[in-house]
Amino acid sequence: MTETTSVTSIAGRHALRRRRDRIRRWSWGVPLWILALVFLLPFAWMISTSLKPDVQAFAIPMQWVPRDPHWGNYTEVLFGENSILIPFGNSVCVAALRVLGELTTATLAGYAFAKLRFPGRGAVFVGYLATSLIPAQLLLVPRFVYFQKLSLYDTLWALILPGMFTVLGTFLMRQYFVSQPEEFAEAARLDGASEIQIFSRIYLPNAMPMISALAILTFVWSWNDYETPLVFLSTPENFTLPMGLTSFTDENGAMAAGLSMAASVISIVPILLVFLIFQRRFVAAMTESALK
């Protein structure tokens, strides 16, 4: 008799604790979710406005869900006069080449700094450390001058080339390869493998998590870059997305709300997809680049 009561009281206490945990979970969860929705309100406004004709954009009171959505903004933005598809294509092209170039040069160099001994390595590395702190802003003027002389000004190469060789990417890859054991290489060398084989067959496959992190980071930098194209591009056909977004104006030259917001929504979709699909790798990329 006494045994069973103690069992039920333990079970009861467990149930009580579970319920308390659940209450606590929701008592924090509900306010935080409300806060998150407030935080995301500008995006709700963006989507809502993208589905309205301009005259309704600032109508009072605000209509969050347009009664008859005006999809015309999207067709205009996609297929109209200043089609966003051109800057979209340019952005894809720039991002793809930057990611490809960055991954190639950064893995090779990062590996060499971590795993290959060669004369002058220390000196070059110190040079890299010193330049890693230089903000791109400081280099805009000389790059502008050189790109004009080399006829790279107002071409996508002005964005792609500097983005393919970064010090930060090299650091990230080096950091990763440093943490890898030396023995693989030594064993493979004794077996007569060439250095490029050791790199590409042994170390590179193991580095895939870091490589994908670097790919995501490079994609984000490239996709969202506004300053570089603002300085180095001048004809609308060459614009990348962030610049293309600014080309929707009404007859007075003021921003056309509906069109601009429709274009903005389109510009966000790819980065949001990358974020949602690779969320874990994405977060790791952000924290790893931060904590290295």
Partner: protein, 319 residues
């Protein structure tokens, strides 16, 4: 290199492994030029697009030049640009605006990020999605964000002032339309966009916090505030300093939003140093002067960064 490889290590001084480390090569080690081949693609790019421009900007800062006059028009002027920078009222004004902007936005971003991280670091319904929600503004391009906020903060028709109007407030803030409110508006949007990043970094640091200490603290009867101060905060301190430095460097260079929304105005109320640098280079084409402004700015930011690291080191030694 080959001679050091074949010559025997000095007998009796050191055992073989350290001798190997000293000479740098074991018999199976790769040939020295292989390493150079590996770094060559990256190195050539870094030299071409970073190193040479860096040397150029330093040289340019001692010259007077606008692009129109061609390379022949470059005139060496010694330290004149630097002297002019320090006598330039717009430079000092921009410096002050930058300090106010970063000085307010950085600590607030940190506080919001930390508060969010502490709140989100517990069992919550759909926690992953909730955490992701706060991060979204950080990954969206600045033009989409800037245009949206510009309309949300429209003094008469914008949603924010509509909302504030509900409380019967008179003299609603004029945001980007007023030289008093433009900088606060910029700070507001900056915090909104950057807090998610600070939150993310804090969250990952909180996961490394020593959990077993919390148990011990609870047994010792420590309250929540006490255990935050004694355990959580010290373990977050390096992360905080790191974020302080990176946010400061990043926010003090904010450019896109200013170029897009305010163009440095109204008046000069949002002309930060980085925007002033852009103006002198690409609106006035005073390349020599712009280079000097850029260098002074960079050296200033660099000095502040060093001070922050020093402060952290001092703090670490103190503890």
């Amino acid at each position: 290199m080959s001679t050091t490889q074949t010559s025997p290590a000095p007998v009796g001084t050191r055992p073989a492994p350290s001798a190997r480390r000293r000479t740098g090569r074991a018999p199976s080690d790769p040939k020295p030029f292989v390493g150079w081949l590996f770094i060559a693609p990256n190195l050539l790019g870094v030299v071409a697009f970073t190193f040479i421009p860096l040397i150029s900007v330093i040289l340019l800062s001692f010259t007077q030049w606008n692009l129109v006059s061609g390379f022949g028009g470059i005139k060496f002027v010694g330290l004149a640009n630097f002297i002019a920078v320090f006598q330039d009222p717009t430079f000092w004004r921009s410096l002050l605006i930058t300090i106010v902007y970063a000085g307010v936005a950085v600590p607030l971003t940190l506080v919001v990020g930390l508060a969010l991280a502490l709140a989100l670091n517990r069992d919550l319904p759909a926690r992953g999605l909730l955490r992701a929600a706060f991060f979204v503004p950080y990954i969206v391009n600045i033009v989409a964000i800037g245009m949206t906020w510009q309309m949300l903060l429209d003094p008469s028709a914008g949603l924010v002032n509509q909302f504030l109007g509900l409380f019967g407030l008179e003299h609603l803030p004029q945001w980007f339309a007023s030289s008093h409110w433009a900088l606060p508006a910029l700070i507001l949007v900056t915090i909104w966009a950057q807090a998610g990043y600070a939150n993310l970094i804090f969250l990952s640091a909180l996961q490394d916090a020593p959990t077993q200490l919390y148990e011990a603290a609870r047994i010792d009867g420590a309250g929540r505030w006490a255990s935050f101060r004694a355990i959580t905060w010290p373990s977050l301190l390096p992360t905080t300093i790191f974020l302080l430095v990176t946010l400061f460097v990043g926010i003090s260079q904010t450019f896109g939003m200013i170029a897009l929304i305010t163009g440095g105005g109204p008046g000069e109320s949002t002309t930060t140093l980085s925007f002033y640098m852009y103006q002198t280079s690409f609106q006035f084409y005073r390349f020599g002067y712009a280079s000097a402004v850029g260098l002074v700015t960079f050296i200033g930011i660099f000095a502040i960064m060093l001070l922050m690291w020093r402060a952290q080191r001092g703090k670490a030694l103190h503890d």
